[in-house]
Amino acid sequence: MTKRIPFDVRLRKNLPGWLIMLPSLVLFSFFVWEPLLESVRLSLYTAEGMRLVQFVGFQNYLDVFQHPDFWPAIRNTFYYTLWSLAIGFLVPIVLAILINEIRRGRSFFKVGIYLPNIVPGMAMVLMWGFIFKPSNAGILNVMLSALGIHAQPWLTDPHLTIPLIVATLTWQGAGATALLYIAGLQGIDPELYDAAIMDGAGIWKRVRYITVPNIYNLARTLLILQIISVFQILYQPLVMTNGGPNNASISIMQLVFRYAFQNYDYPKAGAVSVIISLILIALTAAYNKLNKEKDM
């Protein structure tokens, strides 16, 4: 333990720092920390509009579980996540490795693949809605008919909705994520490759024993960030499909949106929010535990 320093000395030493932080701390409390805690409290009460009325324990949670859209939303959200791991996780890695091999005009490619990432989410969602139009007006169906293939239902086919939405997410995010991997690839010491060549390693062996292990940690971090972000998917089902067809694409965040801003049932919206947070915390913790065991 340190020796006791007089209070006024400590105050004079620390006060300026706290004053500098104070405005930001007020903002963080109002916009981030308090709402996080408040959503827990909110979920345990009944409310009239925004006024909390009565403590009801876990009643809101029980009601939410009974809601006909709840389990479809949970199931779909896991589907979104699984599809995004199947489609969205490997694309940026492969793209990064390929672009990093380009000898001329590499920076041009890097700028080009990032471009979809600057399209604002709402514009991107509407744009893909047009591309996937099920009638003969959709550009994809126009292209298919030029090849002599029938018009496809795209998003209105319940089996295709989620994979297609994930494809649009990948379209938007893959380039930006690939840049992260490219930065990682450039950090690999070229001498490692030289040494491997001396040992007679071909190109595939270099990829397998040098490239992949060197971006492994980065990939692990990005994997969990991707899961967290896809789990909160909202704009796409909200605008492109409105959760349909027949609840085939409704997401758990969309349920929060419906409870809160269509039914004005804030406590139930809070309950669903808390459930989402708990699932994400559990996923992250399980994931960290798995990784630790692997490292040992």
């Binding site: 720092g17 903002l27 981030v32 490219i182 270099r206 909202l234 809160a260």
Partner: protein, 289 residues
């Protein structure tokens, strides 16, 4: 222009002597070109289709419109009153940039260079905000904003971006890279903490302020959920809120298509000017913007 890193990937100059590797390299190049086209084609299609008439858009199978008459775009601009929504978005963006730089910058500076006792707790709380998804607390946040009667105003949008954990971390990392000796020397000369911040830290941190500003412009321009909750039906709707209102179905498809173009233009221009800063920070931060 030859890249100075050429030949430092997996395929080396020596490998290219083999014809198999050479055609493999051509395949790699071709795949990258295809990826680039897939990335850009949808945006090009929207811009080009915006030049079609409604009839053309519904019936014609040609991708290229009959004429490239810019008056079709200006017509939509006027009939949808987009100048108004642009103005609203601009006000939202300007205030957001100011708040993003000032509040996150101050906190990042204090956590890096001043470090009053208890800073570790604050830092841990900030990092927790980075990991726990913010969208799940949108309902209580909306209630908070309504309770202090800030609905229908830009103020909550400006201030909310002043509490952004990602920007705080960017600032803190930057200030951590400035040598402590600079600050200590100034303090020995009798400078107060505020003086050190104003005369030493501030002038040195132009580059990071620039980066956060660019990020904040994009974030504020693209943000939808909070602006929708706070500004819907207030007459102050931003362009994104307007885009969402198209869902009600009173606007023709071709007008919506042109509106999408209006919305994409500002971030594209910004990106073309600052592509280096934007792509570099993306690569360093590990979090996409």
């Amino acid at each position: 222009m030859a890249n100075k890193n050429a030949g430092y990937g997996i395929i080396r100059d020596l490998d290219l002597k083999s014809p198999g590797v050479r055609s493999g390299y051509r395949l790699v190049f071709a795949i990258c070109v295809v990826a680039l086209l897939v990335g850009i084609a949808p945006m090009v299609w929207v811009v080009v289709s915006g030049f079609k008439t409604i009839k053309e858009f519904v019936i014609s199978v040609n991708v290229i419109p009959e004429s490239f008459d810019i008056s079709k775009y200006t017509g939509t601009w006027i009939s949808l009153k987009f100048a108004k929504y642009y103005r609203n978005s601009l006000v939202s963006v300007i205030g957001s940039v100011g708040c993003a730089v000032i509040f996150n910058g101050l906190l990042g500076y204090a956590l890096s260079k001043v470090k009053p006792s208890g800073w570790r707790i604050v830092y841990a709380l900030v990092m927790a905000g980075l990991l726990i998804p913010a969208t799940t607390s949108i309902v209580p946040l909306f209630i908070n904003i309504t309770r202090v009667h800030l609905n229908g105003s830009f103020v909550p949008l400006w201030l909310s971006i002043g509490a952004n954990a990602f920007y705080v971390v960017l600032f803190k990392t930057f200030f951590d890279s400035l040598p402590n000796s600079l600050v200590e020397a100034a303090k020995i000369d009798g400078c107060t903490d505020f003086r050190v911040f104003r005369s030493i830290a501030l002038p040195l941190s132009r580059s990071i302020m620039m980066v956060v500003a660019i990020y904040a412009i994009n974030a504020a321009w693209s943000d939808f959920l909070l602006p929708y909750l706070v500004l819907n039906q207030s007459g102050l709707e931003t362009v994104m809120v307007r885009l969402f209102q198209f869902r009600n179905g009173k606007t023709s498809d071709i007008d919506i298509l042109r509106a999408i173009v209006f919305v994409i233009i500002p971030p594209t221009v910004l990106f073309l000017f600052f592509q280096k800063q934007i792509t570099q920070v993306t690569a360093q931060s590990g979090i996409k913007g």
